[in-house]
Amino acid sequence: MLGLAFAVALFGSALFVVESLRAVHRRASHEAPSLIVSHLEGGRPALIGPDDGERLRDLLGVRTITPRVWGYVFLGALEGNVVVFGEARGEGGSRQDVTVGPGVARLLGLRAGDRLALSTPSHQAVYRVAEILPREGALVSHDAVIVDVREARLLLGIPEGRATDLAIEVFPPEEIGAVSEEIAQRMPTSRVVAQADLARLYELTFDARGGVLGALLLPALAALLLLAWERLSGLSAEERREIGVLKAVGWATEDVLAVRMIEAGLIALFGTVIGLLVAYVHVYAFEAALLSRVIFGWSNLRTPLALAPATDLATLAALVAMVVVPFTTVSTFPAWRAASIDPDRALRGP
């Protein structure tokens, strides 16, 4: 039972992580722009020109076009990149205030009111930390630093009028495909990424990583099944005597088989539920500490997996089909062999 619980906990942890991340990305895409348009030069992303947005304003279905200024700044103290986002604050907004993601704040020990120095080859400045983003949103904001767009241009070396990309809101959503095609025709050097494309990319990524992990766990499952076969094939002297007594008092082979199957079913039930509970605690209370580095790798700014459960019944059914059904199946033959022993031989011993 413990072996089964262990196997279920491993598979269950992988499934819970993948399903929860899927749910986070689905949620995040609700508020995301319908289309992201970037400019390509030599097949690589480059800054988008000042007139590109204007060329798209008359497209039917385009509600807003927002040039986004964002990019990466390497922070020596973190030995890693942070993502700097420019935010339009208007003339009255403070240029010196920054909002930092929870990961950056934690690793640099920042609190609201502290100073944060950002330095790039094009600009150096010291900012005041006005706000620290909540840890609950770390999965999208962990490494973010939000600054005034004028400061972002200086830090990232993006001249006035140019932008990293364009965020386009399309309404109604049914028009997204048509708008996307029209943009590709009007701007042949652009790359248009719709939310649906991004969702597909993440689905594939999660499936791939979850699948790799599942494949790694298959030998453990095979070992468990072999162990279960060995354990259930060998009857102890007490079990043998018990079956002998039952058959001597009139139990049929089918009755003994049914009891043995119920026993195997109870073991499977207990093992599965305990395994799922362990997986739940591991993933949601301990942020999948044992698996996260294997799935997401190593990074200085490693994002804590503060996940919310999002597993549906189909996923649990898949887990049961993957672990519990094979376990119950391998229990059948030993159960039948035990049930069909001769009562006289069973009572006398081997």
Partner: protein, 107 residues
């Protein structure tokens, strides 16, 4: 004997049922918090991509970078998929790379 076994099984089932109900209650309690923080950030920046791997931009923003381009972000960047697996690379690898030294020294 059988009654004792049945009592043990029933007790274990009851404990498991309580644990499952507690997990379901916990799952329900965890949901609303994440949603608000994520929605607020995405509507503020328009960035919905997940910060699962933060060092290489093709892992941080797969929609806007070339996948698989090793060292595209910094010379010593080793963050190739699956991002170093469970163990961090040796710290010594994060010094100046050979190519940078060679470039500085010239032919």
């Amino acid at each position: 004997m059988i009654a004792r076994r049945l009592r043990a099984v029933a007790s274990a089932l009851a404990v498991l049922a309580i644990a499952v109900i507690a997990a379901a209650w916990d799952a329900r309690a965890r949901r609303p918090v994440d949603v608000r923080a994520i929605d607020a950030f995405v509507s503020r920046t328009g960035a919905s991509e997940l910060a699962l791997s933060t060092t290489s931009r093709w892992l941080r923003h797969p929609s806007s970078a070339e996948p698989g381009a090793a060292c595209q972000d910094q010379p010593p960047c080793l963050d190739t998929d699956p991002a170093g697996l469970a163990i961090a690379p040796p710290r010594s690898l994060f010094g100046p790379s050979v190519s940078i030294d060679a470039r500085r020294e010239g032919p």
